[in-house]
Subunit: 105 residues, 2 copies
DNA sequence: CTAAAGTGCAACCGGACGGTTGCTCTTTGA
DNA sequence: TCAAAGAGCAACCGTCCGGTTGCACTTTAG
């Protein structure tokens, strides 16, 4: 299941911060990203690999640097799962509400 | 950050399946859940503990059994994060964000 | 009263994870 | 041309995770 990798990727705060940075539409390199974070460039590269595993990020080699950009489509899959489960929950609440209305009348 | 625990909880397929089961509104015990899964009762208990850490599940002790029920509210937090970062990318995610804002108001 | 059911706690195991250091390779710019 | 920049690969370390077994405790049912 690809949604596994998406939720796993989003579970790490460093990775979420990276996604937030990329959300503006900017492309970034591992070294550039590491300059703004308290971790090593290699650690950043590992996080970016996890995001790439979740298809949340695209890579493009330009000369000696690798530029990463966001692909938000897998986010839709995760959101869809949440919305589905939540819909059943809301349906249950709707049922409970109708029951209470009937009993109070 | 509580959203850490939510995404981490949803990253495991067994845990997502449990949430789907609970989404119907039913309450369940660790033993009852283990009967339908290919894992031990103790493993189920650990998964339920992870869901409880994410506030996705409520516990209620009744006699000798512990009954678990779903609390979908933290799902809204996760969905809201996704909708925020993905709003510029996907109009559907923007719609989800507006929906969540309306429901929380 | 006693045995079974349901739970909780603790220890253990293999593997994945976050992070580091060290090295090599390619590309670029002065 | 040659050193610096950017990246990739590999090994290592401590910790967490999913899962198991074993045991003790409480509650229920016959």
């Amino acid at each position: 299941m690809p949604v596994d990798a998406v939720f796993a990727a989003l579970a790490d705060p460093t990775r979420r911060r990276m996604v937030e940075t990329l959300a503006g539409g900017s492309t970034v390199t591992a070294s550039g990203l590491a300059a703004e974070l308290p971790i090593t460039r290699q650690a950043v590269a590992k996080h970016l690999a996890a995001l790439r595993r979740a298809r949340l990020v695209n890579t493009k080699r330009v000369g000696r640097e690798t530029r990463y950009s966001l692909d938000a489509e897998p986010l839709g899959d995760a959101a869809r799962w949440i919305a589905t489960v939540g819909a059943e929950w809301d349906e249950r609440l709707a049922d409970l509400g109708r029951l209470l209305d009937r009993q109070s009348a």
